[in-house]
């Protein structure tokens, strides 16, 4: 989000320079700055609060999205394979992303970022036990 806001600010500055709004650059810069502030201060918290998951006995439920909300259920026995992925920033905080793949054409990849690495690996072991062969 912070990166996106910086990008937005940069873009606005560029526009001001290009269009030569000389007299009143604030006309563009102030609204953009406000938008960037909202993006940095408000949205991450809201989006974070909407992220959620529930490991049931038979299914994984993932909630995500602040404006566009999605609530996905993947039955364990429909999962084809599982990834536990870690980016460089995530490695710094010992976090991992759990990615499950189903055979479905829509929504075949369900990701769950920001899990503690231990949790993610435990979840992977749990799900692994339910994977069945030749479901389709």
């Amino acid at each position: 989000m912070a990166i996106r806001s910086l990008f937005l600010l940069g873009l606005a500055g560029e526009i001001v320079l290009l269009v030569q709004l000389g007299t009143s650059p604030g006309l563009v810069l102030i609204p953009v700055a406000l938008l960037a502030l909202v993006q940095v201060l408000v949205l991450p918290g809201r989006i974070y609060r909407r992220w959620g998951y529930d490991m049931g006995d038979e299914q994984l439920r993932v909630l995500r999205g602040f404006l566009w909300r999605t609530d996905t259920i993947v039955p364990f026995n429909r999962i084809q394979h599982i990834d536990v992925a870690q980016g460089p920033l995530q490695r710094l905080f010992d976090l991992s992303t759990l990615i499950v793949h189903t055979a479905g054409t829509h929504n075949s990849i369900v990701t769950l970022p920001g899990l503690a690495t231990n949790d993610a690996e435990d979840m992977r072991e749990t799900i692994k036990g339910h994977i069945r062969q030749d479901m389709i």
Partner: protein, 504 residues
């Protein structure tokens, strides 16, 4: 060849085989056809229209293409073991691929016009993995191709590959077909297959050959100048002009109809759907006028059935039955067409074969929330009003009439809403959608992969949600959805869908 493989194949006895030698000619012809143009260009440019030189160049090209194709052919081998098929290919980059029979979704045999003359067939094995076809043997002799298909088909049933063909053949030939289309039926299907492909082709031809046309052919001013006196047109009576416009529309419609019928004939000629009884039960579909295709899809791979129709077609009782599976028909289709133009009475027996039931004793289709159409209408109206106001005062008064467009939009949205329904029975989910392109999807609950409940910012304040069902197959662009039902309803529906999942 055997010493090349790093791990010894499970079945050493099966020999590595090559494709049919005639396939060299088949494939060279394709390459030569592409290079014919280059020869013609050379003839006029570099070779100064000297026929001897051109002939030499052509001979050299033919020799080169034949040689390379033969080399590729000699390095392409395949081996059919008891469990899998292994394909080794590549001139410099050797590729060794093994496809387990377990993973093969369907097998199709294709014969283009030339391969039919040579008695060859291309075998395509689909596993449903992302990137197009996964195993293609181009080409085998027709007999070998059918034998290979039968081997794969019989694998699941544990039949011996040698015993199968003898009794496998007569079952499909002697029994009456499940569904077949005669020429009259194909013409009917073509009528509803209205398309402007022919027009597009003519347009493309015109554009590519534009050096033959006068310079300003596409410039309206040219036409204004050339047409024999605009006064003549101006002089026509009002009705004459109307008649002219009508004639143009009729011509356009005629072109659309004819190209639709021709296209349908080329694709569907001799359409025949059979049930395969031996080995894995499945459907066998044969069709095609120039390019014959012969496809076998196992029944247990079928994920869902789709009945497509339109307002006019439904009036006459015609439906298009498709099956959704991980594999799809060639040419970018995501589904397998099983009956392009059939009555419901003809479709029911086909569906019965794969344990899908079109009707149910307590089938009560439920309507989605009316917000489905009025929300869209309000947004469209507001947008049009904004544009109309902006342009109406700044550009031209005529723009003020723009909001009238909201009426047809509202009508279409309303009709779409009327036709968007769903129903849940103990083993199947029914979803109807679309007014112009009507689709009824019948999905056995055990084929559901994931279920999403999502809310857009526009649905959230109204307490509505959209249920999206992930199935193996179909398009990712237009997934199976139930739009705009109450959030509680959506949650209930999903609970029902998922609980049925865990039982099986």
């Amino acid at each position: 060849m055997n010493d090349l493989s790093a791990s010894p194949p499970p079945d050493q006895s099966a020999p590595f085989q090559r494709l049919h030698p005639l396939s060299i000619i088949l494939r060279s012809m394709g390459t030569l056809g592409q290079n014919l143009f280059a020869i013609v260009v050379l003839h006029f440019s570099l070779l100064d229209r000297n026929f001897v030189h051109t002939g030499l160049a052509a001979a050299a090209l033919i020799a080169l293409v034949l040689g390379v194709t033969a080399l590729i052919w000699s390095r392409f081998t395949y081996q059919v073991t008891s469990k899998e098929i292994r394909i080794k290919s590549g001139l410099l980059n050797r590729n060794n691929r093994s496809i387990p029979f377990d993973r093969i979704q369907d097998v199709s045999l294709e014969q283009k016009l030339v391969s039919r003359l040579l008695g060859l067939a291309t075998v395509t094995l689909e596993t449903g993995s992302g990137g197009g076809e996964d195993g293609q043997l181009d080409a085998l002799s027709r007999v070998d191709a059918e034998a290979l298909r039968d081997t794969i088909r019989d694998y699941k049933a544990g039949l011996n590959a040698d015993a199968a063909p003898a009794e496998g053949q007569p079952t499909s030939e002697d029994q009456p077909s499940l569904f077949a289309m005669d020429n009259r039926r194909i013409s009917i299907a073509g009528l509803f297959n209205f398309s402007f492909v022919l027009l597009a082709i003519l347009g493309a031809v015109a554009q590519n050959l534009d050096f033959l046309l006068p310079n300003d052919y596409f410039d309206p001013r040219y036409w204004l100048a050339v047409l024999p006196g605009r006064e003549m047109i101006d002089g026509f009576s009002f009705w004459m002009r109307i008649a002219g416009a009508l004639a143009a529309i009729v011509a356009l419609v005629a072109v659309g109809l004819v190209s639709g019928i021709v296209r349908t004939f080329v694709r569907e000629y001799g359409f025949r759907l059979d049930k395969v009884e031996s080995g894995q039960h499945g459907f066998r579909r044969r069709r095609g006028l120039f390019t014959l295709t012969d496809l076998v899809m196992p029944i247990h791979r079928i994920q869902a059935a789709v009945l497509q129709t339109g307002p006019v077609r439904e009036h006459f009782g015609w439906h298009h039955l498709k099956f959704i599976s991980l594999a799809g028909d060639s040419g970018g289709e995501t589904d397998h067409s099983a009956a392009p133009c059939a009555t419901l009475a003809e479709i029911d027996p086909i569906l019965e074969q794969c344990a899908i039931h079109r009707t149910h004793s307590d089938l009560a289709l439920q309507q989605v929330n009316p917000a489905f159409w009025w929300r869209g209408t309000i947004i469209a109206t507001l947008l049009l009003a904004a544009i109309a106001l902006g342009n109406g005062f700044l550009v031209h008064r005529g723009f003020l009439a723009l909001p009238l467009l909201a009426l047809p939009i509202a009508a279409v949205l309303f009709l779409n809403w009327r036709h968007h329904q769903y129903a849940l029975t103990d083993s199947q989910l029914f979803i109807r959608s679309g007014w112009w392109r009507r689709r009824l999807t019948i999905l056995p609950l055990r084929k559901i992969q994931t279920v999403d409940v999502s809310q857009s910012p526009l649905a959230h304040p109204l307490g509505l949600a959209t249920v999206t069902i992930g199935i193996a197959g179909g398009t990712a662009v237009r997934p199976l959805m139930i739009r705009d039902i109450g959030l509680d309803q959506a949650m209930e529906l999903r609970a029902a869908l998922v609980s049925s999942q865990n039982r099986t």
